[in-house]
């Protein structure tokens, strides 16, 4: 999902997101995406989060091998990083989106990288309210998933966030989409 949407994503992100200061990736896995983002925005502070400590170490190593300076934290969907609420300019999440049994949704083994439970939505839905909290007032959040996750529904499922599908791509058997979320400007002064 990451690699196939990356080329579509790059033109879109760089044309819509100008000089983010703080970038946060949830579920960094190998570290490819955050390393790539840092290469696009060398002036940004880039933080990569993963629940799996093996992935966190891989992320750090990928960045190092590509001479990119990023920070890495091992955390469950960014919990413990509440000091970043309202401060993230660019937020990205390539979630575990595969439709599986609920019981397969993992809290840190390798299955955490793909097992999404019912409709592939269990981890996505747990993160969406936090996405709204992390975003700076003009921040943007990019989420990837597959058709089975019902993206049209995801676009409007979070109070305070407006989402729209900005890219779709077929990769093997997966029909991928990318949703871009921004904060709803009409909400009251809750930050």
């Amino acid at each position: 999902a990451v690699v196939s949407t990356q080329s579509t994503g790059e033109e879109h992100v760089t044309s819509h997101v100008t000089s983010p200061l703080i970038c946060l990736e949830i579920g960094s896995g190998s570290g490819a995406v955050t390393t790539f983002i840092k290469s696009l925005y060398p002036g940004a502070f880039c933080l990569a989060v993963d629940i799996n400590p093996v992935a966190s170490r891989a992320t750090r190593e990928t960045a190092r091998l590509n001479a990119q300076d990023i920070d890495v934290v091992c955390s469950d969907l960014g919990s413990g990083l509440e000091m970043l609420y309202g401060k993230v300019d660019l937020l990205v999440f390539n979630p575990p989106y595969v439709v599986t049994e609920s019981t397969e949704v993992s809290n840190g083994g390798i299955e955490a990288s793909w097992a999404g439970g019912i409709d592939g939505r269990e981890v996505i839905d747990r993160f969406l309210p936090r996405a709204r909290k992390f975003l700076a007032p003009s921040g943007v959040f990019y989420l990837v998933g597959v058709q089975e996750n019902r993206p049209e529904e995801i676009c409007t499922s979070v109070p305070g966030l407006i989402g729209c599908i900005v890219a779709t791509r077929k990769a093997g058997r997966e029909k991928l989409w990318v949703i871009k979320f921004t904060r709803n400007k009409q909400e009251s002064n809750s930050s």
Binding site: L21, G43, S56, V72, V73, C74, S79, G80, E82, K87
Partner: protein, 106 residues
């Protein structure tokens, strides 16, 4: 939760390019008190003002360089973070803080 660094940290220092624009933009996003506290714990707090001046155009280059150093060039490789409210400690290993909670803490 505001985290305070513990002593006994293994720290690595690496010089990186000084970008005053980035530092100025970051200042408004930092919790300055926590930043200075952490910098002091790591021994790189000397020269940092107790409070930031009110005006947005902060451009004292000496201080910006000290901020740059504490913020970007010093990293804890092995150590601990402590939550001041609960006393719960979170390890830092190989430069990666582990903020995961145990099942019974959630």
């Amino acid at each position: 939760k505001i985290k305070i660094l513990m002593m006994e940290a293994v720290v690595s220092t690496q010089s990186t390019g000084f970008n005053p624009d980035f530092i100025s933009r970051m200042l408004s996003r930092l919790d300055w008190t926590v930043f200075v506290q952490s910098a002091n714990l790591l021994g790189v707090g000397e020269g940092l003002p107790d409070m930031l001046p009110e005006d947005q155009d902060f451009d004292d280059e000496d201080v910006l360089k000290k901020i740059h150093h504490a913020l970007l060039e010093v990293e804890v490789i092995e150590g601990e973070l402590e939550c001041p409210e609960t006393g719960r400690k979170f390890p830092i290993s190989k430069g990666i803080p582990d903020l995961r909670l145990n099942e019974d803490e959630k």
